[in-house]
Amino acid sequence: MKKYDVVIAGGGAVGAACAYFLSRDTDLKIALIDLKKPGNASRASAGGLWAIGESVGLGCGVIFFKTLSKLHSEAKGEEVPVMRPHQLPDCFFEFALTSNNMYPALHREMLEKHGVDFKFERTGLKFIMYNEEDRLYAEQITQGIPHLADQVRWLDAEELKKEEPYVTDDAIGAIDFICDHQVNPYRLVDAYLEGARQNGVSLYLNTEVTSVIRNGNVVEGVKTADETFFCDTLINASGAWANELYQQATGRTMPVYPVKGQIVLSERMPKIMNGCISTSDCYIAQKDNGEILIGSSTEEKGFDTTNSLDKIQELSQGAMKCLPILKESSIKRCWAGLRPGTPDELPILGPVDGVEGYLNACGHFRTGILTSAITGQLMTELVTGKKTTLDLTPFSVERFEEAAQKAG
């Protein structure tokens, strides 16, 4: 039997960030328990810190919104319309941008205090336009975010060629979100974990939480195959698997479900990209080690993590269209991650009405890497009873119950 102040279930970006911030800012006794399941999203992620890009439906969202809009139109029997930007609500912008602002300092802190480098790179995110339709789309995006005008740069074909010489000559220009950057996603997770470990967190990796110990409406701890962990607070950071733990902790269900994303990775290449790229087909990022990462599909196939040729072909074609030099390279690896999806694409954060000793830190969908830092900070504030930096009402799990009641 073990006793901790806080037990974190899940060691992906979000759980690891919670462990890091809690251990940095408090003297609490903390344990993190994680089993690497196939499809864990943090390791399958692109590592984009695309705060604006993701909020306006670029990056990882491109294929998602394409798919969504297609399904929507098909359901109504309409023709698929010209793609329109899909903008997330203001609360998400704030959540994403606040988190994004934390990375430069966090990167220095990790490097100096803990000797780990998660490869933060200032890259920008360029949306590449191939035709007038794309230009219209880009204009709609920028019109939707007037308050962020100073973070957007328009590049004509010539300027784009100068900055990204390997982008196809067919491109007519780009918009660049200058505050969107990238990290190495698995190094970020690793950095949080190493920082947490150095700060005294007990890491139980390769260990599965098998059940939650509950006493009435109080969550008292968790069990693993070999041990019992009592705690004052259980943080559910179980990614696509979060609903299982939630059910055990609360007896209710919440709508967090796996959304599969396939990713294609090239061989290591010389530097051919100065920044990250999103097109209307895919996103493309050259990582710190030179590999070109192309993502990603959006599929609801349960916990299946297999790769399929059709998706790999679509992604590869989209990337080759943008960067013809890829035709001289090979696909080195493909994999699939399971994003923890929610119906409104917003995370689920904070306490649950009528349940004590339990916090949600889940449902981060496409942006767990980007928003892990703010999530870690918010959880620390909740555990220590401080006022939270952001209003968590839009992220509470009760929103789904209210929505259900309204619908009912």
Binding site: P165, Y166, E267, E328
Partner: protein, 106 residues
């Protein structure tokens, strides 16, 4: 251009053979051979320069280690041990796209 001599064949090559070029030098080869065997027969030990500028030669010889990758017919990173020779094939050893491509910073 001077031809490369094959000095390490265990048995004579069949009379029906053809030429390939290795680093622009013609060398005899015959149907069925791998590029690696031709390189070894012509006394080439240093075959590949990898992405991290380390030279290597054939190591596993069976397609597992990726240590004998050469440029074949203008395509980088072809495993010499897994590629069969064809007439007029052009092989370049120690070729590396990091020397040839990429954004060059001043």
């Amino acid at each position: 251009m001077k031809s490369l001599k094959r000095t390490r064949d265990i048995t004579p090559l069949p009379s029906r053979n053809f030429k390939i070029t290795v680093d622009d030098q013609p060398v005899e080869a015959c149907e069925g051979e791998t590029v690696l065997s031709v390189l070894l027969a012509a006394n080439y030990a240093r075959v590949m320069e990898n992405d991290r500028n380390v030279a290597s030669g054939a190591y596993c010889g069976m397609g597992v280690c990726h240590c004998c990758q050469v440029k074949i017919n203008a395509k980088h990173k072809q495993r010499a041990c897994q590629t069969l020779v064809e007439p007029q094939m052009s092989v370049e050893t120690l070729a590396n796209r990091f020397k040839e491509e990429g954004i060059k910073h001043d």
